[in-house]
Symmetry: C2
Subunit: 160 residues, 2 copies
């Protein structure tokens, strides 16, 4: 399987996972956080699926298409490890995390701080969908949609 094939599978899994949790997220209060804005395609998807919901996006640099760039007050530029800290306690309904690099060594460093940060951002029962596996006692795995293979995308609920 080429990297193009696996990229298509990962993007499809991301989209299917986000669609799958729509009802759960709509049943919760609180904003949606997009960690890793990139081109803004997923931001655009979140916006379409959660109309009226505040969506705050984070990236180290703004590289989004102009049609998918959040308002300045919802766009936080900087290293997420630091830039998201002030948002601890915001009680997010959903945190979507797409900051894997394709380099295991780099992702291992990210995973030293990402799970705790995610928990701090989430409301109780809040949902996190992530391209990287998150290991934390307050994150309980949720079932994936049937068409997404285990390990291709990750889905959790924050428990107390």
């Amino acid at each position: 399987m080429s990297r193009l094939d696996s990229f298509i599978r990962r993007m499809t899994a991301q989209r299917d996972v986000l669609n799958h949790i729509g009802e759960r997220v709509r049943a919760l209060d609180g904003p949606v956080l997009e960690l890793g804005l990139g081109n803004g395609r997923t931001f655009d998807h979140l916006r379409a699926h959660f109309p009226g919901r505040r969506i705050i996006a984070f990236d180290r640099a703004v590289g989004s298409h102009k049609s998918s760039t959040p308002e300045p007050e919802n766009l936080i530029v900087g290293e997420i490890r630091e830039s998201a800290k002030p948002f601890a306690g915001i009680n997010a309904a959903l945190v979507h995390v797409d900051i894997g690099t394709g380099y295991e060594e780099k992702d291992a460093i990210t995973l030293t701080w990402l799970p705790q940060l995610t928990v701090a951002l989430l409301a109780p029962n809040g949902i996190v969908a992530s391209g990287l596996e998150l290991d934390h006692p307050q994150l309980e795995s949720l079932p994936l949609p049937h068409n997404v293979k285990k390990g291709r995308y990750f889905l959790y609920r924050r428990v107390e």
Copy 2:
């Protein structure tokens, strides 16, 4: 349809189109050219499907994953409009072009030089697969695979 949805469709169309023309390309001599290396995912796909074939990739900057970075002699860094000119007459079996920006104005400028350049790079009967529509008297449309909707990706053969 969100930009994530249409991105998945476009990447899937790209992959399906490239798979569809495999036999045709293998029947021709000449290198494969990848205009717009990017992350290198499509380069990796081309490499898997055309083993032993020389693949030359072009980009204004090297941003590819280290596992998908061509050897230096097959990686041409610069503005394609200029950097690909010395390769006119190389008789490529396949040119793959993925340099659309999502901005119509920018793509319109690209299309003032891209069709002629592509023709100059191709062998007679050589194939071009492109994310942008190419309008040139020496480029004849080829049928898309049945699962790819017209206008989602473009496929041509160079005629005399």
